[in-house]
């Protein structure tokens, strides 16, 4: 792997920095954020907020207009079994999405949450 690749990988969420290998997608889930409406989004870094607020939905169409949604992906390293949960809060607007800054939990804070 070249130097540029290494540098780029450093900033990718699906890359295990310990083992220097690609992580595999272990779980993917769409959630609604019923308490957060358009114009009232604030970034949260606290996993407790997400545990309390996220509600599982099957598809984007289940999210009412003006309400935020959150995509969650859990990555797992095939070598060291380390897990990383990446949350991607976004506002679904008809066929488009307005994405906010993603939140990464790599300390196991939401590991069990996605497997409920």
């Amino acid at each position: 792997m070249g130097l540029i690749d290494k540098l780029l990988r450093k900033y990718q969420n699906d890359w295990c920095r310990e083992c220097n290998c690609a992580m595999e997608k272990a779980r993917k889930q769409l959630f609604a954020l019923p308490g957060v409406s358009v114009g009232h989004y604030t970034e949260h870094k606290d996993p407790a907020f997400y545990r309390k607020s996220l509600r599982i939905v099957d598809k984007k169409a289940d999210i009412p207009p003006g309400m935020y949604a959150c995509g969650a992906i859990q990555y797992r390293c095939p070598e060291c079994a380390r897990r990383v949960t990446v949350l991607d809060p976004f506002l679904p607007v008809r066929d488009e999405e307005k994405h906010e800054a993603g939140v990464v939990f790599s300390g196991g804070e939401l590991d069990d949450f996605l497997w409920r």
Binding site: G39, P64, P65, M67, V93, R94, E96, K98
Partner: protein
């Protein structure tokens, strides 16, 4: 507090906004020209300060009167016991919605002295206007709004407005569309509640 026909423009206010400073400026210019031809403080006041105040009035007065109207509206809604947690402040009007009671509170930029409370059942329809125009890569919008009709009177509430055209997938436009869609849903919900009451 009114519940009859919705009045978007108070013509007495609109005309006085335009004509009173105009008359004051014209009168002061006339007085200055007639009585202070030789100059001095009187001439400065009549020929410069009063016309300048009239221009300031045209620029700043409506915005500030509207701002005070918003505060008064909130107080009045509280006094009436109307839930105002659903409230939208736009450039042209303020819409407040009490879904449980099926009541809509309205206050307009050109009618800022009157808070109008209308039963939501009187809303005949509500829809979003994304203002999309242009073709190909020029497709975009400079205004997104939600509209509703009360007794045939169309009320437009802007959720996004700009002096430029923005792409339809721009974040600001998407947020405007989302707000408009949300308010259309809220209006429909309140209308249903009002009809049921």
């Amino acid at each position: 507090m009114k519940t009859d026909q919705v009045k978007k423009i108070n013509y007495a206010y609109l005309l006085s906004y335009i004509l009173v400073p105009l008359a004051a400026a014209a009168l002061s210019l006339f007085i200055g020209y007639t009585f202070f031809r030789e100059g001095g403080t009187g001439a400065a006041i009549c020929m410069f300060i009063i016309p300048f105040l009239a221009v300031l009035w045209w620029i700043f007065a409506p915005r500030n009167i509207y701002r005070l109207g918003k505060k008064r509206m909130v107080k009045q809604l509280d006094e009436l016991g109307i839930d105002r947690r659903q409230i939208f402040y736009s450039d042209g009007c303020v819409v407040s919605m009490d879904i449980a009671k099926g009541k809509i509170g309205l206050m307009f930029f050109w009618n800022p002295f009157q808070v109008q409370v209308v039963p939501a059942a009187r809303v005949s329809r509500a829809w979003t206007d994304d203002g999309a125009g242009g073709a190909g890569f020029l497709r975009g919008t400079s205004r997104v709004s939600f509209l509703f009709e009360i007794d045939g009177i169309k009320i437009r509430v802007n959720t996004f407005i700009s002096n430029q055209r923005w792409k339809m997938n721009d974040e600001k436009v998407l947020e405007g569309i989302s707000k408009a869609d949300l308010w259309v849903q809220v209006l429909d919900q309140a209308r249903g509640q009002g009809e049921g009451a």
